[in-house]
């Protein structure tokens, strides 16, 4: 690693000897002229001001540095930057007001068939798509603010959209108000870190067929439908926060056809459904906090081989719901605030198993209309009766070693 740094520093130093810095000031087509007149390796120092320019194609290795956040405005008609060369850097620009089109995806910054592109500390405002990476590799998208004020998910595009990419690093971005905050399709071996994705119309994070990706320390807050993860294997999600994804059809995390993945040490707070699992195989859910959710876990019968270990379940309306009678997933050593067993040998583990599925959760899962009786006296009596005489809930669905006290996560 150290060598790599020294190497790149050397490259930079030697490069800068050859390369020149071009100062760009506002004027008719100033940027376009500067880009076309520059030579590979040059740096454009863009001075503050408003640049009414669009469809700027960067087809050679350039570094475009904004000074004092210059504004590039596409006047609600055109796309912003199109990057088709490797190793381009765009930094410190405010790119705004792209056009909208239902035929082509118009983006603030589009990277197409290129590698090693860096997009850093830009503001991408009110663009249909914010940053659009297609067939890109080893790119860094870092510290950008991507915001749009779309009203519905049909007109809008995604904040950071990546298609058929590899080894991306998406970190410390703030994405809001788009259709999907971050959208991945066929993106592999990438890292998503420290991003805040909030108040997007649909999903804060949405990915499909994107294997071997790692999601760490991101916050997904108040998105229309939370986070959806589908048809992917080997996903790692750690230290993320899924919070306030609270709506009629909102998920903290929707997992569909996910295989061999790890969901560790995340916090799920106040989501309608914290984790929904459908057709998943061997997913381990460990050391997460589930607090104040409507449903903490909805595990469909099509899921199998998952392990739920060492999680805290606190203040959820329903801890676990399922639609089948068979349960092929295992629950071990979790803390359930609804557990009312005892611990005679004082080993901090309850002596009788905990059945985390409530009858009413089972019934309302089968027949959603039964939700009309939510919180009625009848349902609480049913819970009590079921505790004494279990008959409806799947009996394999239990935690044999429930913890007596909240776990330190």
């Amino acid at each position: 690693m150290k060598h790599a740094w020294i190497l790149s520093w050397l490259l930079l130093v030697t490069g800068s000897v050859l390369a020149t810095t071009i100062v760009v000031k506002p004027g008719p087509d100033a940027l376009r002229k500067a880009i076309s007149s520059a030579r590979p390796g040059d740096t454009l120092a863009v001075q503050p001001g408003l640049y009414r320019e669009h469809s700027l194609q960067v087809d050679q290795r350039l570094t475009i540095l904004g000074n004092g956040m210059p504004v590039i405005d596409a006047e609600y008609k055109y796309p912003g930057f199109l990057i088709t060369a490797d190793s381009v850097t765009i930094q410190g620009l405010q790119i705004q007001h792209t056009g909208r089109s239902s035929i082509s995806d118009i983006a603030g910054v589009r990277v197409s068939n290129a590698g090693y592109v860096t997009l850093r500390n830009n503001k991408v405002l009110d663009c249909t798509y914010g940053i659009y990476l297609q067939n890109a590799q080893h790119c860094q998208v870092e510290g950008n603010t991507v915001h749009s004020g779309i009203k519905n998910e049909i007109n809008g595009g995604n904040g950071i959209h990546a298609w058929k990419c590899d080894a991306l690093q998406i970190s410390s971005n703030n994405i809001s108000g788009h259709r999907d905050g971050i959208y991945f399709e066929f993106v592999t071996n990438s890292g998503i870190e420290n991003n805040l994705s909030s108040t997007n119309q649909r999903y804060g994070l949405h990915f499909m067929f994107s294997h071997h990706d790692t999601y760490t320390k991101n916050i997904f807050r108040e998105n229309g439908a939370g986070v959806a993860v589908m048809y992917t294997r080997e996903v790692t999600m750690t230290d993320n926060t899924f919070i306030q994804n609270w709506g009629d059809a909102s998920y903290g995390l929707l997992l569909k056809e996910i295989t061999d993945s790890h969901i560790t040490h995340n916090r799920f707070i106040k989501n309608t459904i914290a984790i929904h699992m459908e057709g998943t195989t061997r997913v381990s859910v460990q050391r997460n906090l589930f607090q104040d959710n409507g449903w903490a876990l909805r595990v469909m019968a099509s899921s199998s081989g998952s392990q739920f270990t060492g999680n805290n379940f606190i203040g959820n309306s329903f801890d676990v719901a399922t639609n089948g009678t068979l349960m092929l997933n295992e629950f071990h050593r979790n803390y359930w605030d609804k557990y009312d067993g005892y611990d005679l040998n004082r080993d901090q583990v309850g002596d009788v198993p905990h059945y985390p599925v409530s009858v009413y959760a089972v019934i309302s899962e089968k027949i959603p209309s039964a939700m009309i009786l939510y919180r009625s006296f009848l349902t609480s009596i049913m819970e009590q009766v079921e505790k004494v005489m279990p008959s409806i809930i799947p009996d394999q669905l239990k935690d044999d070693q429930p913890f007596m006290k909240k776990l330190e996560l």
Partner: protein
Amino acid sequence: MKTIIKYVLIDLLKNRTILIYTLVLAVLTISVTGMSDNMSKGMLSLLNITLLFVPIISILFATIYFFNSAEFTELLLAQPIRRKSMLLASYTGIATALGLAYLAGVGVTVCILYNSLAAIALVVGGVLLTLIFSALALLIFVVFKDKTRGIGAAIITALFFTLLFDGLLLAFIYSFSDYPIDEPLLAFISLNPVDLARILVLLQLDAAVMMGYSGALFKKFMGSATGSIYTAVCMLCWMVIPLILAVRVFRKKDI
């Protein structure tokens, strides 16, 4: 009529049961609000307390009171006053006393602490339930001659609305789950004032999301302003219709 209301209130505000009822509600409210760390949970607990206590206490207490004051009612009816005025005046008196007990026990604390739309819905719901179950008690009083039977009927009525009705509803939902039953459900739920009160309050809370999760029609409808008004109107009907029936029966009743 005003005179009778006034004296019924004078009598009831010194009534031990009313005072204890107020006190129990107040203690429950304060402990529940003190224990729950957020408003939503506190409100849910208070909702459950309201749905459980208000119907049964209102109907039982009112029924017993009506039967106990049957002789005094007779004496008053021997005076030159209308039967209707007499009946409605004692109803107003008792419903006011019980309503005030609820307001003092739950309403004040909730409105000061939470002061939200949900809190208002809870207080409105609780007061409406009080009015409704006092009206049902009045109907029981005019229909039954015998106090013991009247009390029996009161208990059954309260039990029916707090528990049995929901059981039947669940059985209905279960048996017809393959059909679109959202609209019939909406109609059925209007037949139970306790469910109406529950939904009126729930839909003002975060918990509403859970009820609407399946995209249920009733949530969309009941959650709207029109829905809230509909709920309130239904509940008012639940108060007015028993009163009208009671007055009708009482007009021809031999005392």
